[in-house]
């Protein structure tokens, strides 16, 4: 485990030769890319091209068959998800993975899990000794952080509502808040604007930019909404059938013949 402290330009995240198959299906084929600190990288591509699979490999949910993932200079390829989370990585999910029996506040509060003081096993005892105001400080400090992010993302009106009854757009925001309150260095967003109206999407873009501006966090984004992607990204990679077929700034990617072929069919490689 080496840490590279020398260059400022060391990528926060670097993926090399990532490959994984499910049954007979090759979901990722030799995928390589890196993300610089503070950058927003978007991954686009047709459905099934492997975008969510890449996120799952980075977050540790899947173990790739081949390749390596390096995060903050350390190799994390086979680490369990909770360890990777503790390094400062958090994420949202394409199909929402909220804690359905909890309120908005409680859901986001779980996001403070790694920041709260704890001792293995002794966590139970710690909870039992915290009946006084002083003893409760560990907990109440987290409450404050949660309310901060709730205010930032405009969720005050649903603070104590069970998330199960919220609108889809609001649920997405709650998941974003939960991931953000962890104060991650790397944030993985899987289709954060899925199911949102255009008004909600603009709001979302502003909030994501705000977060990035304040904390300098790096963001990897999977998206289908092209306008959103072109608007917000510093760099884009395009995937198709588990392979990276293009990489570059939004403008470069827009004109790339392979990208046009993948999305629109036909053959654009000969102009």
């Amino acid at each position: 485990m080496e840490t590279d402290k020398n260059t400022i330009n060391t990528p926060i995240l670097s993926v090399s030769g990532l490959s994984i198959s499910f049954g007979g299906l090759r979901a990722l084929d030799n995928v390589s890319f890196h993300v610089a600190s503070g950058e927003i990288l978007s991954m686009i591509g047709p459905n099934g091209s492997g975008k969510t699979t890449i996120l799952n490999c980075i977050s540790g949910e899947y173990r790739p068959d081949a390749g390596a993932i390096r995060l903050f200079g350390n190799t994390i390829t086979s680490r369990p998800p909770h360890r990777i989370a503790r390094m400062g990585v958090s994420r949202t999910f394409q199909n929402l993975e909220l804690f359905s029996t909890m309120t908005t506040f409680e859901n986001i509060l779980v996001g403070r899990h790694i920041h709260q003081q704890h001792t293995p096993g002794g966590d139970v005892l710690r909870a039992l000794c915290s009946f006084t105001r002083r003893g409760a400080r560990n907990e109440t400090a987290q409450y404050r952080a949660v309310d901060n992010i709730i205010e930032r993302l405009g969720l005050e009106s649903v603070r104590d509502v069970e998330v199960a009854v919220l609108s889809y757009g609001k649920k997405k925001l709650v998941e974003l808040a939960r991931a953000a309150v962890m104060e991650p260095r790397l944030l993985l967003l899987d289709e954060p604007s899925g199911g949102m109206s255009s008004g909600e999407k603009s709001y979302l873009i502003e909030r994501i930019n705000d977060l990035r501006m304040e904390t300098g966090m790096t963001i990897v984004l999977v998206e289908h909404d092209m306008n959103l992607v072109m608007d917000i990204s510093d760099e884009i990679i395009v995937l198709n059938f588990g392979r990276v077929i293009a990489r570059g700034t939004p403008r470069e990617v827009q004109k790339h013949p392979d990208v046009l072929t993948a999305y629109l069919g036909g053959d654009y490689t000969h102009g």
Partner: protein, 321 residues
């Protein structure tokens, strides 16, 4: 048994193991069938089998003599001999029991499982446990708690000999019944419309519905057939171990092992698992400890679940997020 060589003992344990294993296999079959298609682990399967065995007992002791007497009156039948008549009477009793079992299963599914609005895994398990308890109480109340022997012809089985090794006719019956069942089930699932529909419902419930399969009816039929399998297992268990409320409990636990061993969703797995359980248990009991047989079954379950959770005959799929 004193003049037996080591080989004799091994053969004996093996054959006995196959026999008792077939019983476990039959119990496991009903369990696996229901789990496969409706995704419910029927914890009350042993109590249901026990109830059906009692029903068969009552039919046999109270009504079989009447049937036999009636048959003797009819000239066509009496000319075929007493043995034939006894067999016919037994067949009638069994048929009635199986019909009862089938409807019992269907009604259980209809009244208790279908009504539940979207239960979780825990919900289904609690329902079947509740049924276990209710059936247990009802059976104790109605049938009493003594031990009964099954009446003739399900008693006093002759014992054959393979060299020095004794084999009871009952063991042969159990073994052949299970083997016949395998073949019947294979044909059923591969070549009948209902069987194929059941497989489809298991693979993908929504798609099956979209294809026009009445999944509700499939669930009813599944529970009905499962109950009948339970009845068969119950009657054979009663013939072997004597009828009582708790007779099916120990075999039931072992059939769980068998089902898990073979793979909870695999029908041939249930049978293979049953045989392996029976043989392994016999060897364990002889060479290590008789008293710890049920604990042994549990250890088998644990070992299988840790090493190869899907069981021997089922391929393991990685879950996609």
């Amino acid at each position: 048994m004193n003049e037996w060589t080591a080989i004799d003992i091994v053969i004996y344990l093996f054959i006995q193991g196959m026999a008792i294993g077939s019983l476990y296999a039959m119990i496991a079959l009903g369990l696996v069938l229901i789990y496969r298609t409706s995704d419910v682990l029927n914890f009350s399967h042993d109590k249901m089998g026990m109830i059906f065995a009692f029903v068969a007992y009552l039919l046999m002791s109270d009504h079989m003599p009447k049937i036999i007497a009636w048959c003797r009156e009819v000239p066509i039948l009496s000319s075929l001999g007493d043995g034939f008549i006894a067999g016919l009477a037994l067949a009638a009793v069994l048929a009635l029991t199986f019909c009862f079992a089938f409807f019992f299963g269907v009604l259980t599914e209809f009244f208790f499982l279908r009504r539940a609005k979207n239960p979780s895994h825990i919900g289904y398990i609690v329902i079947t446990i509740g049924l276990w308890l209710a059936f247990d109480g009802a059976a104790s109340w109605i049938f009493g708690t003594e031990y009964l022997s099954m009446p003739a012809p399900l008693s006093d089985f002759p014992v054959y000999h393979l060299g020095k090794v004794p084999i009871s006719q009952l063991d042969l019956i159990i073994f052949s019944a299970t083997s016949v069942l395998i073949i019947l089930l294979y044909v059923f699932f591969q070549h009948t419309a209902v069987g194929i529909a059941m497989r489809a419902t298991f693979e993908n419930r929504t798609a099956a519905r979209l294809m026009g399969i009445r999944t509700r009816r499939i669930f009813s039929i599944t529970w009905g057939i499962g109950a009948v399998l339970g009845a068969m297992a119950g009657i054979l268990t009663a013939a072997r171990f004597d009828l009582s409320n708790t007779m099916m409990f120990a075999p039931f636990v072992k059939s769980f092992s068998a089902a898990v061993l073979g793979g909870l969703t695999s029908i041939p797995g249930a049978i293979v698992g049953g045989w392996i359980m029976g043989i392994a248990e016999n060897f364990f009991g002889w060479y290590i400890s008789m008293k710890l047989k049920t604990t042994f079954a549990f250890l088998v379950i644990l070992a299988v679940l840790l090493v190869r959770p899907s069981g021997l005959l089922v391929r393991h799929h990685q879950k996609k997020v």
